[in-house]
Symmetry: C2
Subunit: 403 residues, 2 copies
């Protein structure tokens, strides 16, 4: 095994603890995380477009983009969504508990919750979690990993990435990110929980702009079953510990590229760890009428149960892929569509191609990654989109999640 | 066992035979059906909106609504979709083979194909099927059942219905319908193959109007996994054998009601026989902004893998249902949503209700039928929609359909 270098931004501390969000959860299930900046930081956020958004989304959305933030508190096990006014009160209370535990206020604290919908937050556990996590804050990778573990639910793999770069202006900055998500993953805004920390300084509107751009091409292009959750949240916290001067011009552009690059590594980890998943599918669409059409085409294929089950079974049933593109409402000439699966040309300009079924099937069976390339001849629209296959294990896991 | 009365319209004959559409298919797998009128009939059709529609859809769509039709030929095992110009040529050839076998022309014959996408029709088998079926045509229920069996693919239950009524004008008419469909079922036009025969006389435009109205509230409101297939076709053939005068006024209205009523019985048979299905879910939406919104809300819930797996597991995880409605883009006040599952009020005006989880879970586990009632307070939009649950068996069946 080789040790992977992980860059931690300056001026942040992390903790992940068990506080018993779910009754009877084992004592080693971490379910409360704190990320704390040692100085007031700028924060930007991108949130779910689900109308029934969780109370934490309402709370955070009102406050970002903004400045003066110290902490992000996250619980896993209870989404605090579809919980009415009590839920909104509890989200604020959670921010206050966490803020006070680290010497800040509720308004300096952002909150995220993920887990079962329609259950009120266990506020005694939340209060204990805030105290316990505040006492354990640390700045090592070990602490970051604990926090990243504590925000997860049915995830089976840790999802963390980092970057370091020397900006044109001379400063060396670092970004690190953690995220969670394995189901209820549909591409409409953040589609999961993600916390990104950076030690560069950013003005709030710039933070919002670069975050939104990065999310649009990454987290908004992943899907497990297409269900945009109530709780999707992606927050970027930039504290200027590396250099207190807000980035502008070429430095800001460099930061933006770095953020996008990092999210491109992070986002596919979600469908790759989708519940019961055996294949990560990468869908490249080119030649669509425009970007929005390319996205709709890719997304329709990505969420298609027939396509996803075929890949699960290593079945090169390409007709389902082509058929899926035809049902999404994007206009195109069916006689100008071509498709490659794992590099094999199966369909060219509306005509089925001869191919060795066994060979293509083996290429699917023997690789974790499957590639679809869909070629249209309508315009410049293109996109890369990631999804998972659909397995019996996914159904098994989701058939009794609450009971 | 009680014998169910089945009404067969006058002047039609039916046959279902084996001709070997799929190589190596067992000799008892019926795969070619003929429905033949003893006099020229009016025909109307409603077809898939999938851009990559099958060649038979292209062929039929050009000809309906119209008059002078004698036969409908259907094969199961090969969809003749995504097959380019060869496919179009073969669809016409299939109409000619079938027409000639019953003493008619290709233009007097409509065709339907269902099965694997992207494979060319085996024309020798088609020619043999036409000959064989023509030799076996009969007017008994037994013959109707053979034809209804021959159009099926992965269906496990026969899907046939009939009606008889005395019209206000005095004539007694009969309608009978057969359909197939168990997967690749998404609600956008016909969503399956259905053949409806009637011995009333109808003018082509009237036939088209009443058929479209019936389909919109029935076949367009069923879903298995939301994939609108390449081949969806619903054809109504009315031959006037009961009375040659085209229906008008109250008689036409009566016919329209009868057709709708019959399709309401037939359409839910599709999701109820969905691949691997253990529950038929009926979704009633009321109070939506308008009918289109009601449909989108119901459809989003109907196609949601998380909702469908929960019902498979008899898990009253209602948060997934509410969350699904919030992600479809229909605007509504989240604090004015209520939900009943199997009659139990689980969510009222945006607030979770106390309920006995075990009791609701049992009501799901112990019944084939599950009911969702979603109440909004935005307008008069309402709809009834049917779907299936999502089971491990569905995944198993679809993981290797072609290989």
């Amino acid at each position: 095994m080789t040790e992977k270098v992980f860059y931690l931004p300056k001026g942040f501390r992390y903790a992940g603890v068990h506080c018993g969000i779910k009754p009877n959860s084992p004592a080693d299930k971490l379910d409360f995380a704190l990320v704390v900046s040692d100085r007031p930081a700028t924060a930007a956020g991108v949130y779910t477009q689900n109308l029934n958004c969780g109370a934490p989304v309402v709370y955070d959305r009102e406050r970002t983009p903004g400045t003066g933030f110290i902490a992000i508190a996250t619980d896993s096990g209870c989404a605090n969504a579809c919980t009415g006014r009590v839920g909104l009160f509890n989200a604020r209370k959670m921010a206050e508990y966490a803020g006070e535990a680290v010497g800040a206020t509720g308004d300096q604290t952002l909150v995220m919750s993920t887990g079962v919908i329609g259950v009120q937050l266990p506020m005694r556990a939340i209060a204990q979690g805030a105290e316990k996590a505040a006492a354990k804050l640390g700045a090592r990778y070990h602490d970051f990993e604990k926090a990243a573990t504590a925000i997860q639910t049915t995830d089976t793999r840790l999802k963390v990435v980092s970057r370091e770069a020397k900006l044109p202006g001379g400063a060396t900055i670092r970004l690190a990110a953690m995220c969670k998500g394995a189901a209820m993953i549909g591409p409409n805004m953040a589609t999961m929980l993600a916390t990104i920390v950076a030690d560069a300084a950013l003005e709030p509107n710039d933070a919002q702009t670069v975050l939104r751009a990065a999310v649009e091409d990454t987290f908004n292009c992943v899907s497990v079953e297409g269900h945009t959750s109530t709780s999707d949240t992606c927050i970027l916290m930039a504290n200027g510990a590396a250099d207190p001067t807000p980035l502008k011009g070429a430095d800001l552009q460099c930061f933006s590229n770095l953020l996008l690059d990092m999210c491109q590594e992070l986002a596919p980890m979600i469908p790759n760890d989708g519940e019961g998943v055996t294949h990560l599918i990468t869908i490249d669409v080119t030649g669509a009428p425009d970007r929005a059409s390319a996205k709709l085409l890719a997304q329709t294929v990505a969420n298609d149960a027939l396509v996803k089950t075929a890949i699960c079974g290593a079945d090169p049933n390409w007709g389902r892929i082509v058929s899926a593109t035809g049902r999404c409402g994007v206009p195109y000439d069916p006689m100008k569509v071509s498709l490659k699966v794992n590099g094999y040309l199966l369909y060219k300009d509306g005509v089925p191609q001869d191919f060795n079924k066994e060979e293509v099937s083996n290429s699917i069976r023997n690789n974790r990654n499957t590639s679809f390339e869909l070629f249209f001849q309508e315009g410049d629209g293109k996109i890369r989109f990631w999804t998972s296959d659909l397995t019996q294990e996914y159904v098994h896991l989701n058939a009794d999640y609450t009971t």
